[in-house]
Amino acid sequence: MRTRRDGQRASPDTPTTAEPEAASGGGTASLANIAPDDPILAYFQSAPGPVEIDKLKLDSPALEALRDAGVKLAVPLVSQGELIGVLNLGPRLSEQDYSADDRKLLDNLAAQAAPALRVAQLVREQEAEARRRERYERELEIAHLIQQNFLPRHLPQLEGWTFGAFYRSMREVGGDFYDFIELPYGGVGIVIGDVTDKGVPASLVMASTRSVIRSVAQRIGQPGKVLEEVNDQLCPEMPPKMFVTCLYAVLEPHSGRMVYANAGHNLPYLKRTDCVDELRARGMPLGLLPGSNYEESEVTLDAGETVLFTTDGIAEAHDQTGEMFGCPRIIEVVTEFERGEDLRDVLLEELNRFTGAAWEQEDDITMVTLERHPYEQSDFERNEAAPITVTRLADLQIPSEPGNERLAMQRVADVVASIGLTTTRLDKLKTAVAEATMNAIEHGNQNNPELNVHITVESTEDRLTIRVVDHGGGREIPESTAPDLDLKLAGEQTPRGWGLFLIKNMVDEMHVSSDEEHHTIELVMYLGGGAPASPGGEDVI
């Protein structure tokens, strides 16, 4: 039972409402709660009118409490069959019993007060819900900010080596992180980790873990000892039920020797010329047990070999049937990718193929790659890679009902509010999203409300990418002729057919693609200017 009833001390002839939520604010009267299993609740709920407390025979602690409080008459307030409060009255000042007229008056009063009270309760619940939602959105924003501020902006530039990094958060930040640390004795520290839990708490723990590792790594050279000390520093600070899995490796660029220790994190994979090695080292996650030891292992990377570090977001991604991507698939990708390909791209592509276009990303996805150049390769051809940080701002499912494109438009506008698009660019984006969603609802999903339009919003440092996916794969897409106003006015072309044309003119890039099941339209807006051939890009903040 959701409601709680309070019996208030009744003063003679003064009705006091026992309004469940307001009562918690306190008052001078002593309050007695009615237990949810008290039989008096059922009695009140079905009582035909005011109840005379003294005549009532029930084995009920609440009834005793009411009697003790001097309540003579209780008027149940029932709205739509639900007991939402009780009006308690003490004895009349005249010390006479309540008359039939009194009861009728009270009954009428209850009949009017109950729905009004219910409305007030609902309004309050709704306001609380709106506040909760707003707080949640703000928290998400903060978590993303923290996360992004603590991820490296640049990859290490080392002769003979190529570093790569990829990070894509889901809507609710998952607590993944990676880092590169320039060490005082010439090596490079490589960190990849994952905080249990999500949102602001996870991102705060991630930020402090990163700082502690950075400072300890400056003093201590051996990865195992580093994790040991980091663990000891983190343990007293760690919030309950949280811990951090983390792998820390130290690379000596000249020899190719890499020493590493692992605090319960996913294994890195080393692609050799003829096989793939799992790089194993034992250790407990950070923040669980003070005094933990961390095994140290080492490996030497030869020319042309690549190491892949990941977090569990990839291995634990599920396809539409619920099957997990799993480590064997990662190993397969590492085995089969060829020199010259970017392992990050190959793995992501494979993951996308596995999960399907309509996938709602379940966890952060993070990858770090480390490649030792083949002997014959000159260094200045390389090192163009930059870390790619993708923030998933939204993952929306919009039912295919006419008019819902406005819902999509508004939701997208809400989530990109923090990106800092100018009003002009935001208006364009809104129109593009509305048109793309409208096409998806009408053409792709044939106005079938059982089918959703799946919209994802992602941002990187320089672009905002919105994908609108419908179930219209394997079908010809109508509206192929460019709209021509002269022809339309002459009646030689239908007045309609502006959708794709508008979208194309609203965004910086538009890509349309299909597979057997889905049809996807991808909208790209450049952020921060300096983007190639950006129409209207000059008015970006």
Binding site: E405, T424, L485, K488, L489, T494, G497, F501
Partner: protein, 113 residues
Amino acid sequence: MSFEASVRPVGELAVIDLTGEIDANADEGLNRAYAEAEAAGAKTVLLNFGEVTYINSTGIALIVGVLAQARKQGTSLRACGLSDHYREIFEITRLVDFVNIYDDEASAVGAAS
């Protein structure tokens, strides 16, 4: 989900005040208002977009339809009150080649035909 269109004469012009969202639901209201303006014998019709919050591609198609009727009857079409965004859409779709655009009603009414 709401759209309204009402006609009022201002001098020689018929002004159609548009309110709300111009999408598929605006079809009937817009055409009825235009027919009313035609029936009143106006040679110039001013579409006032001042209270319009949303126009989608279907709405553009409806406006193209009204423009086609106007051209057939030799009626000249003006527009005012468009936001910068929708003014740009009028430019992209080349509606501006056939509809004279003014900032507000006063300048639209005052302009020479």
